[in-house]
């Protein structure tokens, strides 16, 4: 199904390319950089490094689920116009290949997770031979949910911006240092918050394998995930649902956590059967327009507050 949609998109993209080609021919070469990040939270992190010197846009809009994102010809145009592209990497932007192939022009691609080792897919206890939903054979991309890893993001982005715009080197270095300090502050705050949750309740059940790094850093246990995948663009079989129910019952996990953009039908089914609450308000893969998660740091604080509220 996805393959069919993607080939249709590629065909439409080629058509849009013709239009883009006509458009770009009339553009004069522009010396200011045009920086595009794949998602809203990446754009925010990058903006903090770029400061006032550059403007960073986001390819995906607010509320899009990057795992299930379907591209349009307009996206090709956006990429064509960019001179610096910031990606998370680890195949998070599964849709990017055809866009890059079809976009005009040259650009510097910064991979935020460069130099970081991702988790690979493990079998949870009691999980069956999962089928083929491993979109992300490269590993778990959700590194941004651990602020300590985001420090590396910042460093990579800083170095990339310096490469694209050497004159701004000092500014980028200074901004990066400031932001890293903020990230450390965030890390300390999260640790404090987690302390308020009783140890035996630091249990997470999520829609897909999104909180691995967060759990590892802050001492949570991932009891199970509904979808046995690093991507939300998957479906669960009956046995997988049954296993989640068993896992919840035997661990005593108090809640299932979903991101705002995820479909909650299966979670509701499981909740109906086990009696746990379903929290659908987490913002794991996208910022919000305005409060409560307008920036990356606000997003993390908001998520942690929601977790604490449910688990305390």
């Amino acid at each position: 199904m996805k393959k069919i949609f993607n080939s249709i998109i590629v065909a439409m993209t080629l058509a849009a390319l013709l239009l883009a080609a006509c458009g770009s021919a009339s553009q004069s070469s522009d010396s200011t950089l045009s920086v595009l990040a794949s998602t809203t939270f990446l754009a925010d992190i990058a903006q903090h490094v770029a400061g006032d010197r550059l403007n960073v846009d986001s390819l995906l809009p607010v509320d899009a689920d990057p795992h299930a994102y379907q591209t349009t010809p307009a996206d090709v145009v956006k990429i064509s116009k960019s001179t610096v592209l910031i990606l998370n990497g680890i195949e998070y932007e599964h849709f990017i290949e055809p866009l890059l192939e079809n976009a005009d022009g040259e650009r510097l691609v910064i991979t935020a997770t460069a130099r970081l080792e991702p988790h690979q897919m493990e079998e949870h206890a009691g999980e069956t031979e999962s089928d083929d939903e491993h979109e992300h054979e490269a590993g778990d991309p959700h590194m941004w949910l651990d602020p300590n890893l985001v420090v590396t993001y910042v460093e990579n982005i800083r170095d990339g911006l310096i490469q694209a715009d050497p004159e701004g080197a000092e500014i980028y270095k200074a901004n990066a240092d400031t932001y890293i300090a903020q990230l450390m502050g965030l890390d300390a705050w999260i640790k404090e918050q987690v302390e308020t949750i009783p140890v035996e309740r630091r249990l997470l059940v999520t829609n897909h394998e999104s909180m691995g790094y967060f759990a590892e850093r802050y001492g949570f246990t991932i009891v199970d995930t509904i979808l046995p995948s690093f991507s939300s663009d998957a479906s669960a079989s009956a046995q997988e649902i049954a296993e989640v129910i068993e896992a919840i019952r035997s661990s005593g996990a108090p809640a299932i956590f979903l991101s705002d953009v995820e479909n909650n039908a299966l979670a509701n089914q499981i909740a109906e059967e086990t009696g746990v609450q379903v929290v659908t308000s987490l913002r794991l893969e996208s910022l919000t327009d305005g409060a409560p998660a307008a920036t990356y740091i606000e997003m993390m604080k908001y998520n942690v507050s929601e977790l604490v509220k449910a688990l305390q």
Binding site: K2, A68, Y69, S237, A238, A242, N263, L266, Q269, E272
Partner: protein, 279 residues
């Protein structure tokens, strides 16, 4: 022996599987009964068209209500009834051959539905649920809706049984007897529409026609009485629903597809048996 019973009982220890099975059985029965008329009156294409035509209605509901599944039933129901009567109207009043006009409407409406759903940037999973069914997420509320509306359909068929039979066998006789032919035809279209809306969550748009046609066609091969045909069809459909869900549970395959494949296997078995028995 105990392991076989364990194996049978394991899925049933989960409420979501119980609900799924009840839904599959109920939907199977209603589809089989209405499907008997669909098969006898040669309306399979109409049934398929109707299932596809309701996609834009569901899409609108999806956009407006942010994907909440329970309100989608009402959107599907409303769209289905309007679409059924509309298609009925087009086929009566058009110069273009009936199957062509139906084909034009259904493809266009289906495309509209996909277009609307695709405006939500992460639509693929939800779209596949609309197309192929999502029997694992039948909530208790959905189950009540299936029971109530399915029950209404069966009651109306029971009440008008001989009228529908007469109308389907000999429309001229029906007219001669002054049966309200126009009303009955539209009523049957509406019943098909309600059946499609009720079955949507279990089998999905793409496979709906199979649930209407395959069990009824299997029964048609086995009996000469309409009432027996309906009951056999209901039995085949229910069995296919249950077996399909067990297959889905143990083999991790999509439930709607598993149910339809099982029903198709039943048909093939009966078909081959009849040929070999020389009947």
């Amino acid at each position: 022996m105990t392991t076989f019973i364990d194996w049978l009982a394991a899925p049933l220890s989960y409420e979501f599987m119980q609900r799924g099975m009840i839904a599959a059985v109920l939907v199977g029965i209603v589809c089989a009964v209405i499907g008997s008329y669909v098969v006898l009156r040669g309306m399979a294409f109409f049934g398929d068209a109707l299932a596809h035509t309701i996609l834009p209605g569901i899409a609108l509901g999806y956009l407006v209500s942010g994907g909440a599944r329970d309100t989608l039933f009402w959107w599907a129901l409303g769209t289905a009834v309007i679409a059924a009567l509309g298609i009925g109207l087009i086929s009566k009043n058009s110069e273009i051959k009936e199957d062509t006009s139906i084909g034009i409407v259904f493809a266009g409406m289906f495309a509209l539905g996909v277009a609307l759903i695709s405006t939500v940037r992460s639509y693929a999973v939800d779209l596949s649920h609309f197309l192929f069914g999502d029997v694992l997420s039948v909530s208790t509320q959905s189950l009540w809706l299936i029971l109530i509306f399915g029950g209404i359909v069966l009651l109306i068929v029971f009440a008008f049984y001989k009228e529908f039979m007469t109308l389907s066998f000999d429309p001229i006789l029906a007219a001669t007897l002054r049966l309200p032919v126009g009303f009955l035809n539209n009523l049957l279209l509406a019943l098909i529409a309600v059946t499609v809306a009720v079955s949507l969550q279990t089998v999905g748009v793409a496979l709906m026609v199979a649930m209407l046609v395959t069990p009824a066609a299997t029964a048609y091969l086995l009996t000469h009485r309409l009432s027996t045909m309906m009951m056999l069809a209901a039995a085949f459909a229910s069995l296919a629903g249950i077996i399909g869900l067990y297959l889905s549970f143990y083999l991790s395959i999509a439930s709607g597809a598993a149910i339809v494949l099982t029903a198709t296997v039943f048909f093939l078995l009966v078909f081959v048996w009849k040929k070999m028995a020389g009947r």
